[in-house]
Protein backbone atom coordinates (compact mmCIF):
# COMPACT_ATOMS: atom_id res chain seq x y z
CA UNK A 1 0.00 0.00 0.00
CA UNK A 2 1.26 3.44 -0.89
CA UNK A 3 0.42 6.20 1.47
CA UNK A 4 1.16 9.91 1.27
CA UNK A 5 0.48 12.78 3.58
CA UNK A 6 0.37 16.34 2.41
CA UNK A 7 -0.88 19.70 3.57
CA UNK A 8 -3.32 21.82 1.65
CA UNK A 9 -4.63 25.31 2.22
CA UNK A 10 -8.28 25.59 3.08
CA UNK A 11 -10.28 28.76 3.13
CA UNK A 12 -13.56 28.77 4.96
CA UNK A 13 -16.24 31.12 3.73
CA UNK A 14 -19.60 31.72 5.35
CA UNK A 15 -22.27 32.23 2.69
CA UNK A 16 -24.45 35.22 3.51
CA UNK A 17 -25.58 35.78 -0.02
CA UNK A 18 -24.09 34.04 -3.02
CA UNK A 19 -23.59 37.26 -4.95
CA UNK A 20 -21.02 38.67 -2.54
CA UNK A 21 -19.26 35.30 -2.33
CA UNK A 22 -18.92 35.23 -6.13
CA UNK A 23 -17.66 38.79 -6.15
CA UNK A 24 -15.10 37.94 -3.49
CA UNK A 25 -13.88 34.84 -5.31
CA UNK A 26 -13.72 36.68 -8.60
CA UNK A 27 -11.53 39.44 -7.21
CA UNK A 28 -9.25 37.07 -5.35
CA UNK A 29 -9.25 34.30 -7.93
CA UNK A 30 -5.49 34.23 -8.46
CA UNK A 31 -4.81 33.97 -4.75
CA UNK A 32 -7.46 31.36 -4.03
CA UNK A 33 -7.51 29.07 -7.04
CA UNK A 34 -5.23 26.53 -5.39
CA UNK A 35 -7.11 26.45 -2.10
CA UNK A 36 -9.84 24.09 -1.10
CA UNK A 37 -12.95 26.15 -0.40
CA UNK A 38 -14.95 25.06 2.58
CA UNK A 39 -18.30 26.78 2.13
CA UNK A 40 -20.54 27.04 5.16
CA UNK A 41 -24.20 27.78 4.60
CA UNK A 42 -26.84 27.34 1.93
CA UNK A 43 -25.55 27.17 -1.63
CA UNK A 44 -27.70 28.18 -4.59
CA UNK A 45 -27.42 27.15 -8.23
CA UNK A 46 -25.75 30.44 -9.24
CA UNK A 47 -22.88 29.87 -6.88
CA UNK A 48 -22.62 26.21 -7.85
CA UNK A 49 -22.33 26.88 -11.54
CA UNK A 50 -19.88 29.72 -10.92
CA UNK A 51 -17.61 27.42 -8.89
CA UNK A 52 -17.73 24.73 -11.53
CA UNK A 53 -17.11 27.12 -14.37
CA UNK A 54 -14.03 28.52 -12.60
CA UNK A 55 -12.75 25.10 -11.62
CA UNK A 56 -12.72 25.82 -7.90
CA UNK A 57 -12.49 22.76 -5.69
CA UNK A 58 -14.90 23.01 -2.81
CA UNK A 59 -16.91 21.24 -0.15
CA UNK A 60 -20.18 22.44 1.28
CA UNK A 61 -21.07 22.19 4.97
CA UNK A 62 -18.52 19.47 5.50
CA UNK A 63 -16.87 18.91 8.88
CA UNK A 64 -13.17 19.12 8.12
CA UNK A 65 -10.55 18.13 10.67
CA UNK A 66 -9.52 21.22 12.59
CA UNK A 67 -6.19 22.89 11.90
CA UNK A 68 -4.35 26.08 12.60
CA UNK A 69 -6.59 28.92 11.49
CA UNK A 70 -6.28 32.65 11.17
CA UNK A 71 -8.31 35.57 9.97
CA UNK A 72 -7.41 36.76 6.53
CA UNK A 73 -7.92 39.99 4.69
CA UNK A 74 -7.92 39.76 0.94
CA UNK A 75 -9.12 42.39 -1.48
CA UNK A 76 -12.76 42.58 -0.53
CA UNK A 77 -12.71 43.34 3.17
CA UNK A 78 -16.48 43.65 3.49
CA UNK A 79 -17.10 39.99 2.72
CA UNK A 80 -17.65 37.52 5.51
CA UNK A 81 -14.55 35.30 5.62
CA UNK A 82 -13.64 35.09 9.24
CA UNK A 83 -12.12 31.86 10.35
CA UNK A 84 -12.78 30.91 13.92
CA UNK A 85 -10.11 30.01 16.39
CA UNK A 86 -9.58 26.29 16.59
CA UNK A 87 -10.86 24.67 19.79
CA UNK A 88 -7.30 24.08 20.97
CA UNK A 89 -6.47 27.73 20.86
CA UNK A 90 -9.54 28.71 22.78
CA UNK A 91 -8.86 26.11 25.39
CA UNK A 92 -5.29 27.19 25.86
CA UNK A 93 -6.41 30.74 26.30
CA UNK A 94 -9.00 29.70 28.85
CA UNK A 95 -6.55 27.55 30.73
CA UNK A 96 -4.15 30.41 31.15
CA UNK A 97 -6.80 32.87 32.09
CA UNK A 98 -7.81 30.57 34.93
CA UNK A 99 -4.29 30.28 36.26
CA UNK A 100 -4.46 33.70 37.85
CA UNK A 101 -0.82 34.52 37.17
CA UNK A 102 -0.28 37.81 35.39
CA UNK A 103 -0.73 37.16 31.69
CA UNK A 104 -0.19 39.45 28.77
CA UNK A 105 -2.11 38.52 25.64
CA UNK A 106 -0.83 39.82 22.32
CA UNK A 107 -3.37 39.61 19.54
CA UNK A 108 -1.51 41.39 16.76
CA UNK A 109 1.50 40.13 14.83
CA UNK A 110 4.79 41.01 16.48
CA UNK A 111 7.00 42.68 13.89
CA UNK A 112 10.71 43.05 13.37
CA UNK A 113 12.12 45.48 15.94
CA UNK A 114 9.24 45.07 18.36
CA UNK A 115 10.19 43.87 21.81
CA UNK A 116 7.89 42.64 24.55
CA UNK A 117 9.31 42.31 28.04
CA UNK A 118 6.97 41.11 30.78
CA UNK A 119 7.08 40.12 34.43
CA UNK A 120 4.48 37.38 33.98
CA UNK A 121 3.48 34.98 31.22
CA UNK A 122 2.91 35.98 27.61
CA UNK A 123 0.41 34.50 25.15
CA UNK A 124 0.71 35.52 21.53
CA UNK A 125 -2.03 34.44 19.15
CA UNK A 126 -0.53 35.83 15.94
CA UNK A 127 2.77 35.30 14.19
CA UNK A 128 6.10 36.54 15.45
CA UNK A 129 8.31 37.77 12.66
CA UNK A 130 12.04 37.57 12.28
CA UNK A 131 13.61 40.33 14.39
CA UNK A 132 10.80 40.43 16.97
CA UNK A 133 11.46 39.44 20.57
CA UNK A 134 9.55 38.27 23.65
CA UNK A 135 11.28 38.04 27.03
CA UNK A 136 9.10 36.79 29.90
CA UNK A 137 9.73 35.96 33.54
CA UNK A 138 6.79 33.55 33.24
CA UNK A 139 5.80 31.09 30.54
CA UNK A 140 5.41 31.89 26.87
CA UNK A 141 2.72 30.45 24.64
CA UNK A 142 3.00 31.14 20.93
CA UNK A 143 0.12 30.01 18.74
CA UNK A 144 1.24 31.49 15.44
CA UNK A 145 4.36 30.97 13.37
CA UNK A 146 7.52 31.84 15.31
CA UNK A 147 10.43 33.39 13.45
CA UNK A 148 11.61 35.74 16.19
CA UNK A 149 13.31 35.30 19.55
CA UNK A 150 11.61 33.91 22.66
CA UNK A 151 13.17 33.87 26.09
CA UNK A 152 11.37 32.48 29.14
CA UNK A 153 12.44 31.75 32.70
CA UNK A 154 8.98 30.49 33.67
CA UNK A 155 7.35 27.06 33.85
CA UNK A 156 7.25 26.33 30.15
CA UNK A 157 7.25 27.48 26.56
CA UNK A 158 4.46 26.19 24.36
CA UNK A 159 4.97 26.68 20.65
CA UNK A 160 4.87 25.15 17.17
CA UNK A 161 8.04 23.99 15.40
CA UNK A 162 10.24 26.81 14.13
CA UNK A 163 12.96 27.09 11.52
CA UNK A 164 14.30 30.54 12.20
CA UNK A 165 13.24 31.26 15.75
CA UNK A 166 15.80 31.62 18.52
CA UNK A 167 14.42 29.99 21.66
CA UNK A 168 15.95 30.35 25.12
CA UNK A 169 14.49 28.50 28.10
CA UNK A 170 16.12 29.53 31.41
CA UNK A 171 19.07 30.75 29.38
CA UNK A 172 19.50 27.45 27.54
CA UNK A 173 19.30 27.59 23.77
CA UNK A 174 16.76 25.08 22.46
CA UNK A 175 17.73 23.17 19.34
CA UNK A 176 15.10 23.89 16.71
CA UNK A 177 15.38 20.32 15.44
CA UNK A 178 14.03 19.05 18.72
CA UNK A 179 10.77 20.98 18.37
CA UNK A 180 9.21 18.26 16.27
CA UNK A 181 5.62 18.06 17.48
CA UNK A 182 2.70 20.07 16.11
CA UNK A 183 2.64 21.91 19.44
CA UNK A 184 5.67 21.53 21.69
CA UNK A 185 5.93 22.06 25.41
CA UNK A 186 9.38 22.90 26.71
CA UNK A 187 9.68 22.41 30.47
CA UNK A 188 11.72 21.15 33.40
CA UNK A 189 11.41 17.63 34.75
CA UNK A 190 13.81 16.85 37.61
CA UNK A 191 16.16 19.67 36.65
CA UNK A 192 16.34 18.55 33.04
CA UNK A 193 14.80 20.39 30.13
CA UNK A 194 12.51 18.16 28.16
CA UNK A 195 10.26 18.72 25.19
CA UNK A 196 6.89 17.00 25.01
CA UNK A 197 4.00 17.22 22.61
CA UNK A 198 1.02 19.14 23.94
CA UNK A 199 -2.05 17.02 23.49
CA UNK A 200 -5.65 18.01 23.64
CA UNK A 201 -6.25 15.65 26.55
CA UNK A 202 -3.69 17.45 28.65
CA UNK A 203 -5.43 20.74 28.32
CA UNK A 204 -8.62 19.38 29.90
Amino acid sequence: MKCKQYTIKVIEIGIDDSKSVIEFLEINYELLKNHLLSLKGKMDSNLKSYLEEKGFRYVNNMDLPSGRAKDITLVAPDTNTTVENTPEEEEIEELYQNMGSPLKIIKTPLRSGQYVEYDGSVLITERMNSGAKIAALGSVIALGTVEGDISSVGDCIIMPPTKRGNILFHGVKIDNESLKYPINRIMFVNDRIIIKPLSKKEIN
Binding site: E23, N28, E30, L74, V75, S112, E126, R127, S130, E147
Partner: protein
Protein backbone atom coordinates in the same frame (compact mmCIF):
# COMPACT_ATOMS: atom_id res chain seq x y z
CA UNK B 1 -12.86 63.84 2.05
CA UNK B 2 -9.19 63.92 1.28
CA UNK B 3 -6.69 61.23 2.07
CA UNK B 4 -2.98 61.41 2.87
CA UNK B 5 -1.12 58.27 1.75
CA UNK B 6 2.52 57.62 2.68
CA UNK B 7 4.51 55.37 0.34
CA UNK B 8 7.06 53.51 2.47
CA UNK B 9 9.34 50.47 2.32
CA UNK B 10 12.04 50.40 4.98
CA UNK B 11 14.67 49.15 2.57
CA UNK B 12 15.85 51.56 -0.10
CA UNK B 13 15.62 51.16 -3.85
CA UNK B 14 12.58 48.88 -3.94
CA UNK B 15 10.34 51.22 -5.93
CA UNK B 16 8.73 53.85 -3.67
CA UNK B 17 9.39 56.76 -5.99
CA UNK B 18 8.35 54.75 -9.06
CA UNK B 19 5.16 53.78 -7.26
CA UNK B 20 4.43 57.33 -6.10
CA UNK B 21 4.80 58.73 -9.63
CA UNK B 22 2.71 56.06 -11.32
CA UNK B 23 0.00 55.83 -8.72
CA UNK B 24 -0.26 59.64 -8.57
CA UNK B 25 -0.66 59.81 -12.33
CA UNK B 26 -3.05 56.86 -12.28
CA UNK B 27 -5.29 58.53 -9.73
CA UNK B 28 -5.25 61.73 -11.79
CA UNK B 29 -6.24 59.66 -14.83
CA UNK B 30 -9.27 58.59 -12.80
CA UNK B 31 -10.34 62.24 -12.70
CA UNK B 32 -9.31 62.90 -9.12
CA UNK B 33 -7.30 65.89 -7.96
CA UNK B 34 -3.99 64.51 -6.74
CA UNK B 35 -0.69 65.87 -5.46
CA UNK B 36 2.54 63.93 -5.03
CA UNK B 37 4.99 65.27 -2.47
CA UNK B 38 8.69 64.39 -2.38
CA UNK B 39 9.66 63.78 1.25
CA UNK B 40 13.10 62.48 0.30
CA UNK B 41 14.95 65.61 1.42
CA UNK B 42 18.33 66.02 -0.23
CA UNK B 43 17.81 63.17 -2.71
CA UNK B 44 15.12 64.46 -5.04
CA UNK B 45 14.10 61.84 -7.59
CA UNK B 46 10.39 62.23 -8.07
CA UNK B 47 10.80 65.35 -10.23
CA UNK B 48 12.90 63.38 -12.71
CA UNK B 49 10.56 60.43 -12.95
CA UNK B 50 7.69 62.84 -13.61
CA UNK B 51 9.77 64.75 -16.17
CA UNK B 52 9.46 67.98 -14.21
CA UNK B 53 13.01 68.59 -12.99
CA UNK B 54 13.49 71.72 -15.08
CA UNK B 55 10.33 73.30 -13.70
CA UNK B 56 11.32 73.28 -10.05
CA UNK B 57 11.58 76.80 -8.60
CA UNK B 58 10.45 76.59 -4.97
CA UNK B 59 10.39 73.59 -2.68
CA UNK B 60 8.37 72.21 0.20
CA UNK B 61 10.63 73.61 2.91
CA UNK B 62 10.39 77.12 1.46
CA UNK B 63 6.62 76.82 1.59
CA UNK B 64 6.73 75.64 5.19
CA UNK B 65 9.02 78.51 6.13
CA UNK B 66 6.82 81.06 4.40
CA UNK B 67 9.41 81.96 1.77
CA UNK B 68 7.03 80.92 -0.99
CA UNK B 69 3.31 80.27 -1.25
CA UNK B 70 1.97 76.80 -1.96
CA UNK B 71 0.66 78.02 -5.32
CA UNK B 72 4.12 79.19 -6.29
CA UNK B 73 5.72 75.87 -5.41
CA UNK B 74 3.17 73.46 -6.89
CA UNK B 75 4.00 72.23 -10.38
CA UNK B 76 1.32 70.93 -12.69
CA UNK B 77 2.09 67.70 -14.54
CA UNK B 78 2.34 67.86 -18.33
CA UNK B 79 0.88 64.39 -18.61
CA UNK B 80 -2.33 65.07 -16.71
CA UNK B 81 -3.96 68.30 -15.54
CA UNK B 82 -5.27 66.70 -12.33
CA UNK B 83 -1.79 65.88 -11.07
CA UNK B 84 0.44 68.30 -9.16
CA UNK B 85 3.90 67.91 -7.73
CA UNK B 86 5.53 69.50 -4.69
CA UNK B 87 9.35 69.22 -4.79
CA UNK B 88 11.67 68.28 -1.95
CA UNK B 89 14.31 70.61 -0.68
CA UNK B 90 17.83 69.98 -1.95
CA UNK B 91 19.44 70.89 1.34
CA UNK B 92 21.77 68.37 2.93
CA UNK B 93 20.41 69.22 6.35
CA UNK B 94 17.75 66.59 6.92
CA UNK B 95 16.62 68.12 10.18
CA UNK B 96 14.79 70.93 8.40
CA UNK B 97 11.48 69.13 8.82
CA UNK B 98 9.39 69.95 11.87
CA UNK B 99 6.20 68.18 12.84
CA UNK B 100 4.11 71.29 13.36
CA UNK B 101 5.05 72.73 9.99
CA UNK B 102 4.40 69.46 8.20
CA UNK B 103 0.99 69.22 9.78
CA UNK B 104 0.20 72.75 8.64
CA UNK B 105 1.37 72.05 5.07
CA UNK B 106 -0.64 68.84 4.84
CA UNK B 107 -3.71 70.65 6.13
CA UNK B 108 -3.39 73.10 3.27
CA UNK B 109 -2.87 70.31 0.74
CA UNK B 110 -5.90 68.43 2.06
CA UNK B 111 -8.07 71.42 1.26
CA UNK B 112 -6.95 71.46 -2.37
CA UNK B 113 -6.60 67.78 -3.22
CA UNK B 114 -8.53 64.56 -2.80
CA UNK B 115 -5.35 62.47 -2.72
CA UNK B 116 -2.08 63.59 -1.14
CA UNK B 117 0.69 61.06 -1.77
CA UNK B 118 3.98 61.27 0.11
CA UNK B 119 7.14 59.64 -1.23
CA UNK B 120 9.14 58.54 1.83
CA UNK B 121 12.93 58.37 1.98
CA UNK B 122 14.68 55.02 2.44
CA UNK B 123 15.25 53.81 5.98
CA UNK B 124 13.29 54.27 9.18
CA UNK B 125 14.96 57.39 10.55
CA UNK B 126 13.50 60.84 11.17
CA UNK B 127 12.67 61.53 7.51
CA UNK B 128 10.60 58.36 7.43
CA UNK B 129 8.89 59.18 10.71
CA UNK B 130 7.95 62.62 9.43
CA UNK B 131 6.40 61.09 6.33
CA UNK B 132 4.18 58.71 8.27
CA UNK B 133 3.35 61.02 11.16
CA UNK B 134 0.20 62.55 9.69
CA UNK B 135 -0.73 59.89 7.13
CA UNK B 136 -4.21 58.35 7.00
CA UNK B 137 -2.94 55.29 5.21
CA UNK B 138 0.25 53.75 3.90
CA UNK B 139 1.28 51.88 0.80
CA UNK B 140 4.06 49.48 1.68
CA UNK B 141 6.28 48.59 -1.27
CA UNK B 142 8.33 45.40 -1.08
CA UNK B 143 10.42 43.31 -3.45
CA UNK B 144 9.97 39.54 -3.18
CA UNK B 145 13.11 39.04 -1.12
CA UNK B 146 13.70 38.37 2.54
CA UNK B 147 15.63 41.54 3.40
CA UNK B 148 13.02 43.81 1.85
CA UNK B 149 10.21 42.03 3.69
CA UNK B 150 11.95 42.19 7.01
CA UNK B 151 12.70 45.90 6.65
CA UNK B 152 9.14 46.69 5.67
CA UNK B 153 7.91 44.64 8.63
CA UNK B 154 9.93 46.93 10.85
CA UNK B 155 8.59 50.01 9.07
CA UNK B 156 5.03 48.79 9.64
CA UNK B 157 5.81 48.31 13.32
CA UNK B 158 6.95 51.93 13.58
CA UNK B 159 3.95 53.12 11.58
CA UNK B 160 1.69 51.30 14.02
CA UNK B 161 3.26 52.96 17.02
CA UNK B 162 4.35 56.43 15.95
CA UNK B 163 1.75 57.83 13.59
CA UNK B 164 -0.59 60.46 14.98
CA UNK B 165 -3.67 58.47 14.06
CA UNK B 166 -2.51 55.51 16.16
CA UNK B 167 -1.53 57.77 19.05
CA UNK B 168 -5.04 59.21 18.92
CA UNK B 169 -6.42 55.70 19.32
CA UNK B 170 -7.17 55.11 15.65
CA UNK B 171 -5.60 53.00 12.95
CA UNK B 172 -3.55 53.62 9.84
CA UNK B 173 -4.77 51.66 6.86
CA UNK B 174 -1.99 49.54 5.34
CA UNK B 175 -1.85 48.14 1.83
CA UNK B 176 0.89 46.12 0.17
CA UNK B 177 2.43 46.37 -3.29
CA UNK B 178 4.81 43.60 -4.26
CA UNK B 179 7.07 45.13 -6.91
CA UNK B 180 9.57 43.59 -9.33
CA UNK B 181 8.04 40.13 -9.43
CA UNK B 182 9.90 38.01 -11.96
CA UNK B 183 7.26 35.70 -13.47
CA UNK B 184 9.88 33.24 -14.79
CA UNK B 185 11.29 32.79 -11.34
CA UNK B 186 7.84 32.48 -9.82
CA UNK B 187 7.02 29.73 -12.29
CA UNK B 188 10.16 27.84 -11.39
CA UNK B 189 9.35 28.29 -7.71
CA UNK B 190 12.54 30.27 -7.14
CA UNK B 191 10.84 33.32 -5.73
CA UNK B 192 8.99 33.96 -2.52
CA UNK B 193 5.32 33.59 -3.36
CA UNK B 194 2.91 36.45 -2.85
CA UNK B 195 1.00 34.28 -0.42
CA UNK B 196 4.05 33.76 1.75
CA UNK B 197 4.74 37.49 1.80
CA UNK B 198 1.15 38.28 2.72
CA UNK B 199 1.38 35.64 5.42
CA UNK B 200 4.40 37.29 6.99
CA UNK B 201 3.30 40.90 6.73
CA UNK B 202 -0.35 40.27 7.50
CA UNK B 203 -1.76 43.26 5.63
CA UNK B 204 -4.14 43.78 2.74
CA UNK B 205 -2.83 43.31 -0.81
CA UNK B 206 -3.09 46.32 -3.13
CA UNK B 207 -1.33 44.93 -6.17
CA UNK B 208 1.41 42.91 -7.84
CA UNK B 209 3.83 44.65 -10.20
CA UNK B 210 6.12 42.60 -12.45
CA UNK B 211 9.76 43.29 -13.19
CA UNK B 212 9.75 45.32 -16.41
CA UNK B 213 12.80 46.75 -18.15
CA UNK B 214 10.60 49.51 -19.51
CA UNK B 215 10.30 51.02 -16.02
CA UNK B 216 13.89 52.28 -16.01
CA UNK B 217 13.60 53.73 -19.52
CA UNK B 218 10.32 55.36 -18.64
CA UNK B 219 11.87 56.95 -15.55
CA UNK B 220 14.84 58.23 -17.51
CA UNK B 221 12.54 59.87 -20.01
CA UNK B 222 10.27 61.38 -17.40
CA UNK B 223 7.29 59.44 -18.76
CA UNK B 224 6.01 57.13 -16.01
CA UNK B 225 5.39 53.57 -17.21
CA UNK B 226 1.64 53.87 -16.60
CA UNK B 227 1.50 55.96 -19.80
CA UNK B 228 2.72 52.94 -21.76
CA UNK B 229 -0.37 50.98 -22.78
CA UNK B 230 1.63 47.86 -23.63
CA UNK B 231 3.71 47.51 -20.49
CA UNK B 232 2.62 44.90 -17.95
CA UNK B 233 3.99 47.03 -15.10
CA UNK B 234 2.05 49.98 -16.50
CA UNK B 235 -1.16 47.93 -16.56
CA UNK B 236 -0.50 46.79 -13.00
CA UNK B 237 -0.21 50.42 -11.86
CA UNK B 238 -3.45 51.22 -13.67
CA UNK B 239 -5.26 48.50 -11.73
CA UNK B 240 -3.69 49.67 -8.47
CA UNK B 241 -4.79 53.26 -9.11
CA UNK B 242 -8.35 52.13 -9.78
CA UNK B 243 -8.37 50.17 -6.54
CA UNK B 244 -7.19 53.27 -4.70
CA UNK B 245 -10.09 55.15 -6.28
CA UNK B 246 -12.49 52.63 -4.79
CA UNK B 247 -13.10 50.31 -7.74
CA UNK B 248 -13.00 46.57 -7.27
CA UNK B 249 -10.46 45.25 -9.75
CA UNK B 250 -9.25 41.63 -9.74
CA UNK B 251 -5.68 40.89 -8.68
CA UNK B 252 -3.68 39.66 -11.66
CA UNK B 253 -0.72 37.36 -11.09
CA UNK B 254 2.21 38.28 -13.39
CA UNK B 255 2.61 35.60 -16.06
CA UNK B 256 5.76 34.53 -17.86
CA UNK B 257 5.89 35.53 -21.53
CA UNK B 258 5.19 32.71 -23.98
CA UNK B 259 8.44 31.00 -24.82
CA UNK B 260 9.30 29.55 -28.20
CA UNK B 261 11.30 31.23 -30.91
CA UNK B 262 8.63 33.66 -32.02
CA UNK B 263 8.02 34.71 -28.47
CA UNK B 264 11.71 35.23 -27.84
CA UNK B 265 12.10 37.24 -31.04
CA UNK B 266 9.18 39.39 -30.05
CA UNK B 267 10.75 39.86 -26.65
CA UNK B 268 13.79 41.40 -28.28
CA UNK B 269 11.70 44.12 -29.85
CA UNK B 270 9.32 44.94 -27.03
Amino acid sequence: MSKVIAVISGKGGVGKTTTTANVGLGIAMNMKQCVVVDFDIGQRNLDMILGLENRVVYDMVQVMDGEATLEQALIRSKANRNLFFLPASQTKDKSVLESAKIEELLKELRQKFEYVILDAPAGIESGFEHTIEFADSAIIVVNPEVSSIRDSDRAIGILDSKSKRVKDGGEVEKQLIINRIDPDMVEKGEMLSSEDILDILNIELLGLVPEDKGVIDASNQGQPIILNEKSEAGKAYKRISKRLCGQKVPIVQPKAKSKGIVGKLKGLFS
